[in-house]
């Protein structure tokens, strides 16, 4: 399944102007702070309306300024995992994961949706977390639960905003491999925002570099490493960002 995003938007001081094509392999989005990565994900999810452009996910056009199409977030079939994971703090893990089956057209009976949540949690190796509250989870556990919650509605496009950024180095390594394996076996399209070159390399797929709202370079990690187009790209591959952050 393919998807493509072509949009222009002004958000505060940011002039976002991007065109990205993607397929079943994960698309990795990197860029300095304030380059518009989160804004782009939120626009794809439907939180902000771009000034112009077109967003297609599979066969469904979810936004088209020329045709006046602007599908609301609940009908876009995207799975969104924001920075910090966005778990609903007032709901235990099972109800967080089952949320997508308790609302809208996918609504199921309580026992059915709890069964579905339990089985997905088991798939992701966190069945034992079912009755905990989000505040009782570690960063890595939150990440898996948030992923389960996004996957339960079988989204056509998964949007992961810095899914590994807040984890300690140990969990980060483990979850990076877990996430890469998961995305490979599912073969579902995903956009993964990251600050870490190792995330980009392990997740594979096409890499897009966003700077000041523009895609300045794209290609595989090897291609970008071989011929970095900007200082940021050169630095990104020279020095593992997490090491710098770890020392800070």
């Amino acid at each position: 399944m393919s998807w493509n995003v072509e949009l222009h938007a002004r958000v505060g001081a940011l002039d976002l102007n991007v065109a990205i094509d993607g397929n079943d392999t994960p698309t990795v989005l990197v860029g300095p702070n304030g380059s518009g990565k989160t804004t782009l994900l939120r626009m794809i999810a439907g939180a902000h309306r771009p000034s112009s452009g077109r967003i297609r996910i599979g066969s469904m056009v979810v936004f088209d300024s020329n045709e006046d199409v602007d599908v609301p977030p609940e009908a876009r079939q995207v799975g969104y995992v924001p920075q910090g994971f966005g778990l609903f703090p007032h709901l235990p893990v099972t109800d967080n994961v089952a949320f997508g089956l308790s609302v809208g057209r996918r609504r199921q009976r309580r026992s059915d949706r709890r069964d579905a949540a339990a089985s997905l949690l088991a798939d992701l190796g966190c069945a034992h977390l079912a009755e905990r509250m989000p505040s009782e989870l570690s960063g890595g556990e939150k990440q898996r639960v948030a992923l389960a919650r996004a996957l339960i509605v079988q989204p056509k496009l998964l949007l992961l905003d810095e899914p590994l950024a807040t984890l300690d180095p140990g969990s980060r390594r483990k979850l990076r491999t877990f996430l890469a394996d998961h995305l490979k076996t599912k073969r579902g399209p995903a956009i993964v925002v990251t600050h870490d070159v190792r995330d980009a390399e392990v997740l594979g797929g096409e890499l897009f570099v966003l700077e000041k709202g523009r895609i300045v370079q794209h290609g595989t990690a090897e291609e970008l490493r071989a011929e970095p187009a900007t200082d940021f790209v050169a630095e990104f591959f020279d020095t593992p960002q997490s090491d710098i952050r770890g020392m800070a």
């Binding site: 609940e74 007032h90 509250m133 570690s138 996004a150």
Partner: protein
């Protein structure tokens, strides 16, 4: 714990002295109120013809005004929290105006709006409806003076709700209304409850605006504070009994404001345990 530790002796004594004086000024009248009435006087006060009608009217009007404040104030507070700042700042200023305007002035202003010679006077006269000096006026006055406390607390609570939580709920299939009620409201519930309690406390004690706009008519507009005012001229025991009921309600509300939010958000982390939360901030 030693608040004035480290200050020289004389200023420290002065600070302690003035603080104790202020505390005494706040607490002593309440103590006096509690100590000044014997049980038999209290029973006589409760049996006074002013007591029950005022209690009943206060209960009905304040519960009605609370319902109106919550029903209309919640969406307004949400808009204040997420709407475009250039508009919300102005509207928020208008909403909190009644906090700083004297209640008596609000009463006059409401008369000028709904009274016979007010701007809507001819309209209400034409449809045969009288607003001033009715129970409806009591409720309206309470709504106006109390709503700012609720709306302000609710807006602050909603501003603390991570916008991504609502977006996640939407991507999972929730309509805007469902995302609001299933996610934003529960997450903000502690602030909403505190705001509702503060607003209720303000409306049950409302006096000035009610007196001017609704009058002091037994069974129709004579709420408990107005009944105290009337009773003081006739039978101080009734005034004391009503006062003690109001103090009791106030203590309950204080508990709701202080303890309710903690109880409601028992799911929230007590401390940012791992430092992993809140990268949005």
């Amino acid at each position: 714990m030693h608040t004035f530790r480290g200050t020289p002796l004389l200023p420290s004594l002065l600070a302690w002295g003035s603080s104790l004086a202020l505390l005494a000024l706040i607490v002593l009248p309440l103590l006096a109120l509690g100590l000044s009435s014997s049980p038999s006087e209290l029973i006589a006060g409760v049996r006074h013809p002013l007591f029950l009608p005022a209690l009943s009217l206060s209960a009905r009007t304040t519960l009605t005004s609370l319902a109106i404040v919550v029903a209309t104030g919640t969406p307004l507070a949400w808009w204040l929290a997420v709407g475009p700042p250039r508009y919300t700042r102005v509207v928020e200023l208008l909403v909190v105006l009644p906090i700083v305007i004297p209640p008596a002035v609000l009463g006059v202003a409401m008369l000028q709006t709904f009274g016979r010679r007010g701007i809507f006077g001819p309209f209400f006269e034409a449809i045969g409806v009288q607003v001033p000096f009715t129970t409806v006026a009591v409720v309206l006055a309470q709504v106006v003076v109390a709503a700012p406390f609720y709306v302000e607390s609710a807006a602050i609570a909603f501003r603390r709700v991570d916008v991504d939580l609502v977006l996640v709920a939407r991507t999972l299939g929730a309509s805007p209304a469902v995302a609001f009620f299933r996610v934003a409201v529960p997450v903000a519930s502690a602030g909403l409850l505190a705001g509702a309690a503060l607003s209720y406390a303000r409306s049950i004690g409302e006096f000035g605006a009610t007196l001017l706009f609704a009058g002091n008519l037994p069974r129709t507009t004579q709420t408990m504070p107005l009944a105290i005012y009337t009773a003081l001229e006739a039978d101080v025991r009734a005034a004391l009994a009503i006062s003690l009921v109001l103090v009791g309600i106030a203590i309950v509300l204080l508990f709701v404001v202080r303890i309710g939010p903690q109880a409601l958000s028992s799911w929230a982390p007590q401390r940012s345990d791992s430092g992993l939360e809140g990268p949005q901030s």
